[in-house]
């Protein structure tokens, strides 16, 4: 990609805030077409995925990128879909047909669909695939970056630790993973399921990664963690997030892992999101 690819140097936090608010409203709009869409999970990682697409991935003038984004927590893919729609990779028609019999898009990303790097949905697969991709980029001289978002519940899968160990052994400095650390999984708090999961940053460092914790809804903090990395080893950015972020009644309430808002709930959510931007 050479000189035509520019890494973004300055971060416009206000623009990021506006984009993320717009993406949340778009997801809310789509929620009224279906009974379920993992809205809380998508809101939790909105700033992370937005930062990857708009601040971290390099872009050629034609919009293509030498870098890859792999949504390991596949159930959060609604944020990826609305971003891909914004970028023109998916169409409004595609999103209108979300989870419909004649549509392309379902509740988990599907390889082969525009803009989707790998099929996920089964947790614990993404990091291994991202590692394979990053290693291919490194050894074939194409030097693309690979970004991936994992959920904190997902990290309970043993396979993620296999990949964690291997990624540092191979010194894949072009692999950057984000943990959407909202402290929730289907049945409750991850810190209750596994209190010994914390401190988690230390665990990645012990496994030979670089790891830092950042406020996960702060675009600037997310980007600075990546920009300031050592680069000789994989990086895990542990993003402290709030599940359902942006809508008061969804925040930290497990049912919004999956459910769609009723018409009244929709109105309230929309009003809260509109006010947040005002």
């Amino acid at each position: 990609m050479g000189e035509s690819v520019q890494a973004r140097k300055t971060i416009d936090s206000m623009a990021a805030r506006e984009r993320c608010n717009r993406f949340r409203r778009r997801i809310l709009e789509i929620s009224q077409q279906v009974q379920a869409l993992h809205i809380g999970s998508a809101y939790s990682c909105t700033e992370i995925v937005d930062a990857v697409y708009f601040e971290l991935m390099r872009r050629a003038p034609d919009g293509s990128s030498p870098d890859t984004f792999l949504m390991s927590k596949g159930h959060g893919c609604m944020i990826q879909y609305v971003i891909l729609e914004h970028l023109g990779v998916l169409t409004r028609h595609d999103l209108d047909r979300y989870c419909k019999a004649d549509g392309l898009l379902g509740c988990h990303p599907d390889y082969g669909n525009p803009g989707i790097a790998a099929s996920t949905g089964a947790l614990g697969h993404g990091l291994s695939m991202a590692l394979g991709m990053a290693y291919a980029e490194k050894t074939r001289g194409t030097n693309g970056m690979v970004y991936s978002v994992l959920s904190d519940g997902e990290v309970q899968e043993g396979s993620t630790w296999e990949a964690t160990m291997m990624a540092s052994s191979l010194k894949v400095g072009n692999l950057v993973a984000f943990m959407d650390n909202n402290d929730f999984q289907s049945l409750g708090r991850t810190s209750v399921t596994h209190p010994s999961f914390y401190p988690v940053v230390d665990k990645y460092i012990a496994f030979g990664w670089e790891s830092v914790e950042v406020p996960g809804h702060d675009t600037r903090a997310i980007c600075e963690a990546v920009a300031g990395r050592m680069g000789d080893r994989p990086l895990m950015v542990v993003c402290k997030t709030t599940k359902g972020r942006g809508v008061s009644y969804m925040e930290n309430v497990p049912i919004w892992h999956y459910r769609s808002p009723s018409p009244d709930e929709y109105k309230q959510a929309l009003s809260e999101l509109e006010k947040a931007l005002a």
Binding site: A118, M129, A136, E137, M166
Partner: protein, 303 residues
């Protein structure tokens, strides 16, 4: 077979920089040393971690590489099964999962190291192809095919060491087609993989008794050459299936199904491992014999 595999893979890697091998703490013998020395970046040992072996291979393939994932069959297929199914099958990626020492070759290591159900399990995955060469020469053909194909994932079932050459005079290897090692008129023996040695011994004894015998390597177990099998059922008086696999989901039940569908009139006999784990030890032949797979037991049933 594993030496032949690694020598062939080395040649494939020399010809194509997209060829990688990801192994899980098991390396295909000394012959892999050349590959490792010349292409260290394309030889990856993940250690005892089979899920990342398959996941990494998928990631490599998603970036245009042609990876092989290699370990003992039970660990390459059973342990990371959902990775094989989702990452390779569902995404339809050109990754070869090598199941080394399949069947009951690891005859002194116990049931944890036996691979008796792999054809059924791999074959149940949509998009998955299965190749099971019967001797070192066929392993060359099969490995080359895997390294150069784009169609999707392959489960490559190979033996270990010391397999005799059986295909020197056989018809050419064609993916997806039955391969006659010899052609006869009375009896046709269908088999695949390492147990082909026993199939050839049975054929020799039947021939000595005056029968005209065909011996067929069904190396492509999936997609199976159904028209080829229907033809074999039609043109022989007796068809014998010999396979180192449990009775369900392998070549034997598929042959019976084809026989029914094609209204075959021939006598059809199947010799397989039983639907039972093996708890005894001994040589590979001892274990096969424990489930009725020996020359004498087969001859007693077919003559």
């Amino acid at each position: 077979m594993r030496n032949t595999f690694s020598e062939t893979l080395y040649e494939c890697a020399k010809a194509d920089p997209r060829v990688y091998i990801v192994v899980a703490d098991i390396s295909p013998a000394g012959s892999m040393a050349k590959f490792q020395a010349e292409y260290p970046e394309r030889f990856i040992n993940v250690g005892v971690a089979e899920q990342v072996m398959i996941g990494m291979a998928a990631g490599l393939a998603l970036k245009g590489c042609r990876p092989f994932a290699y370990t003992i069959a039970t660990f390459s297929l059973y342990r990371p099964f959902e990775f094989v199914r989702d990452d390779l099958g569902y995404q339809n990626l050109p990754v070869t999962v090598v199941g080394m020492g399949a069947g009951v070759i690891y005859s002194t290591l116990g049931g944890t190291h036996h691979t008796m159900e792999d054809i059924a399990i791999a074959g149940a995955i949509p998009n998955m192809q299965i190749l099971a060469p019967c001797d070192p020469l066929e392993t060359v053909d099969a490995t080359r095919h895997c390294a150069t194909q784009d169609r999707g994932p392959v489960y490559l079932r190979i033996g270990k060491a010391g397999e005799p050459k059986l295909t020197e005079k056989a018809e050419p290897f064609v993916f997806g087609k039955l391969r006659y090692l010899r052609r006869g008129k009375d009896v046709c023996i269908l088999s695949y993989g390492v147990i082909m040695k026993l199939a050839v011994q049975v054929a020799d004894r039947l021939a000595a008794a005056g029968k005209s015998v065909s011996v067929v390597s069904c190396h492509t177990v999936k997609p199976l050459d159904r028209p080829g099998i229907a033809e074999a059922l039609k043109t022989h008086k007796q068809v014998i299936v010999i396979e180192e696999h449990v009775p369900q989901g392998g070549l034997a039940p598929q042959t019976k199904q084809i026989a029914w569908d094609s209204r075959a009139q021939c006598d059809l006999k199947a010799f397989t491992l039983q639907d039972k784990f093996i708890h005894n030890y001994g040589s590979h032949d001892d274990l096969l014999a424990a489930h009725g797979l020996s020359l004498e037991q087969i001859l007693k049933s077919v003559s």
